[in-house]
């Protein structure tokens, strides 16, 4: 089904786009110059990946929508990103923990998509995976250093983890779209990522001396289906302002 593939591509593209937009909010305000550059570079990689996914989504949809129309002219309920990536930046601990939880999942997901029966999806995933390897190296390293750091940094990282944990359940919930994509060999079920992800996260957080909340805790969901938190509207208002105010503007 083309519609299902379109949905899948929107999910992939929107995750990258929305997290990129969030990270851009730090540019010029990072706690250290190196961190500022690292966030900007990560945001740039994700933006490039978003363009590749959304350009393909537009082609699959065959309605003449390109990457720009999909990014700038959809409303919140038409976005298919996970709730995790739209969480506000908060403190640097919140931003880093969000990044680590996403990166560790993202790398596993891309590894899975690299084996997709759809050659274009496999190609984009293979390219993105190389970039995400560096994202994860950095975020995992910092989570360990700050978690196993001072009393203050430890407390902040634990707080960030407790706050963000209920948004991780959605990463592994498959719906009808996922089932169709799995049946066609285009994307294996995201459920299969849960155990390897949990094992990895347990190891990292143990090294960070952080306490993992229960894996079976109550979880938020709905982002993949377009049911977003109130934060999404504010994020889009900023991201889409120019195209809304000056429709069709180019430079």
């Amino acid at each position: 089904m083309l519609d299902d593939k379109f949905e899948l591509l929107l999910r992939l593209g929107d995750n990258a786009l929305v997290l990129s937009q969030r990270l851009c909010g730090w540019v010029g305000k990072g706690p250290a110059l190196e961190e500022d550059m690292a966030l900007a570079n990560t945001a740039l990689d994700l933006m490039g990946q978003a363009r590749l996914w959304l350009a393909y989504a537009g082609e699959v949809e065959e309605q003449g929508r390109g990457e720009d129309q999909l990014a700038f002219l959809r409303d919140a309920h038409q976005f298919r990103n996970l709730l995790l990536v739209e969480r506000p930046n908060g403190s640097y601990a919140d931003t880093l923990m969000r990044q680590y939880l996403f990166d560790s999942w993202h790398l596993l997901l891309l590894g899975q998509l690299e084996r997709s029966a759809d050659g274009r999806i496999a190609a984009i995933a293979a390219k993105a995976r190389k970039e995400v390897t560096y994202h994860l190296r950095r975020s995992a390293d910092l989570v360990v250093r700050l978690g196993d750091g001072t009393q203050e940094s430890h407390a902040r990282m634990q707080e960030a983890l407790d706050e963000l944990w209920p948004y991780t359940g959605e990463l592994f919930v498959a719906d009808a779209v996922d089932e169709v994509m799995a049946a066609q060999g285009i994307a294996d079920s995201v459920c299969e990522l849960r155990e390897p992800w949990l094992a990895q996260v347990r190891r990292t957080l143990a090294a960070a001396t952080l306490v993992l909340p229960p894996a079976n805790a109550w979880m938020h969901k709905g982002g993949k289906q377009g049911r977003h938190s109130e934060h999404m509207g504010y994020l889009l208002a900023e991201m889409q302002f120019l195209q809304r105010a000056y429709p069709g503007q180019q430079w």
Binding site: E34, E35, M37, A38, N41, T42, L44, D45, L46, M47, G48, Q49, R51, L52, S104, L107, G119, A122, A123, I124, A126, K127, A128, R129, K130, E131, T133, Y134, L136, R137, R138, A140, D141, V143, V144, R145, D148, P196, A199, Q200, R203, T204, L205, A207, A208
Partner: protein, 177 residues
């Protein structure tokens, strides 16, 4: 119009003079992003098709590179140039020429170390604490191997920031990718 169509070897030689916009000491051929040069019939005219593999997904230099290629070939009389982007297999620093590596080093950027295939992160290594310097990195200023990683990300996505513990100079490493 060119009266005689240049050979693809000639076109390759011209492309070898097109600078990378972010690291002008190396050419786009040194960088390993030019995958193919071919002539194709397009209607009643001949078109030079240059296939390029972008480095990073979000590399802002991609458009500049496309423009530079077109300009360089037009300056030599090739009127019809088409650029194609090929993302698979993904670009890797393994494709960087030896000459390119030498030029990078002379410019003050440590060239990538090792093969990209070994760079993939192993799940068992994630979050083991300290990120150490990649083994084998040498300071481009004093050749010392006593170096430390400052940040995984430098001034561009393709570089990491290091510092030399011997001469105390900071330097960029072109990341193995």
């Amino acid at each position: 119009m060119v009266s005689v169509e240049p050979t693809t070897a000639e076109v390759w030689a011209w492309l070898a003079e097109v600078e990378d916009p972010e690291i002008p000491v190396i050419s786009i051929v040194d960088l390993g992003i030019v995958r193919e040069v071919a002539w194709a019939d397009e209607g009643d005219r001949r078109e030079c098709v240059v296939t390029i593999t972008p480095t990073y997904s979000g590399c802002p230099a991609t458009h500049v590179i496309a423009d530079s290629v077109k300009t360089a070939l037009r300056d030599r009389g090739v009127e019809h140039v088409r650029l194609e982007s090929r993302i698979a297999p993904p670009w890797t620093t393994d494709w960087m020429s030896e000459d390119g590596r030498r030029k990078l080093r002379a410019y003050g950027i440590a060239p990538p170390i090792g093969s990209a295939a070994e760079q993939f992160i192993r799940p068992e290594d994630i979050g083991r604490g300290r990120v150490c310097a990649a083994p084998g990195v040498q300071c481009p200023n004093c050749d010392s191997t006593d170096v430390a990683l400052t940040s995984q990300f430098g001034s561009t996505p393709c570089k990491a920031l290091y510092r030399c513990r011997s001469c105390l100079e900071p330097f960029d490493l072109f990341k193995c990718h």
